[in-house]
Symmetry: D3
Subunit: 68 residues, 6 copies
């Protein structure tokens, strides 16, 4: 019955990668806490890099600086 | 003053249906807990079926299988 | 498959009232969007009035002022 | 290490305004609680006015009424 | 930089089990999306069974019925 | 009308510090986006250090290591 919300920046995660996150985290909850996979819900939010900040800066800017 | 977040898969909910969710849940909180509707906030998140998993599988895949 | 998170201040909601919120919001999603109640998840968070603010003020203070 | 989620209606916030929210809230947590800005995460969600309700009404409708 | 929120019912998860969830989900995000573990944040919420509903019923009640 | 959720580890934040976060973030949203403070909602979640992970480790452990 767990509910898992995964927030990542929107930077091209494929449908296959999202499927791997969903199956992986569902399996983890079964292995660690014996949670029933049938009712484990996983929601992935992809967030624009303009809307995500760390260290007081937008990820958009951090990505630009690391490319230089 | 309650805050309600409703997450559903993005599968064509209309503006009228969203309005019905907002008015319905606001009324429910007033009836059950006597909460002031004026400051009840409701936020609906529509999530791509690729980004929602249950039972370890993407909803996209579950929908395809149920159509067969 | 919807996921609903209801946040209210911790001010004595009873177990029966929480049960009424859970059944009520599950029924609402079935009526409005034909969502399967069996996989509708509802999570209620009760938040201390010190930790909830509206209008820039803690609810603790707002409650004290309204009692005067 | 704090995590801050800011939800606003999608009504044209610019990248500069989002940057100001990110830097401002990160600084606030440093000033008030001495939190390390390097690991403070801020995520801004912009929500369609159809999907946001207050007082039991969609913001879309509230905006139309206030324009009259 | 991902942020993961895991919500489970409060039913005796140990500190070691929580540590296993944190390390497991951090590793999963590194393997699947090459995310930097150093800035991956995981927050576990334990929710009273009175405050969690599925299928329109409180988990408290579901647990009682399954014990009979 | 914004909704802000601030998650911090439960490490002794005082009521006054929480009040400062609530008033500070409400003012920030007014200054940056001209948001009406009267309907700005702020919810602070304090999370046990056992339930918060960064870099794949529980904060409880990180705190113990930094004290040595």
């Amino acid at each position: 019955m767990p509910y898992v919300n995964i927030k990542i920046t929107r930077e091209g995660a494929t449908s296959e990668q999202k499927a791997a996150l969903i199956s992986g985290v569902t399996r983890l909850l079964q292995e660690v806490l014996n949670k029933n996979p049938a009712t484990t819900v996983v929601v992935i939010d992809e967030v624009d890099t303009d809307n995500w900040g760390i260290g007081g800066e937008q990820v958009t800017l951090i990505r630009q600086q690391s490319r230089r």
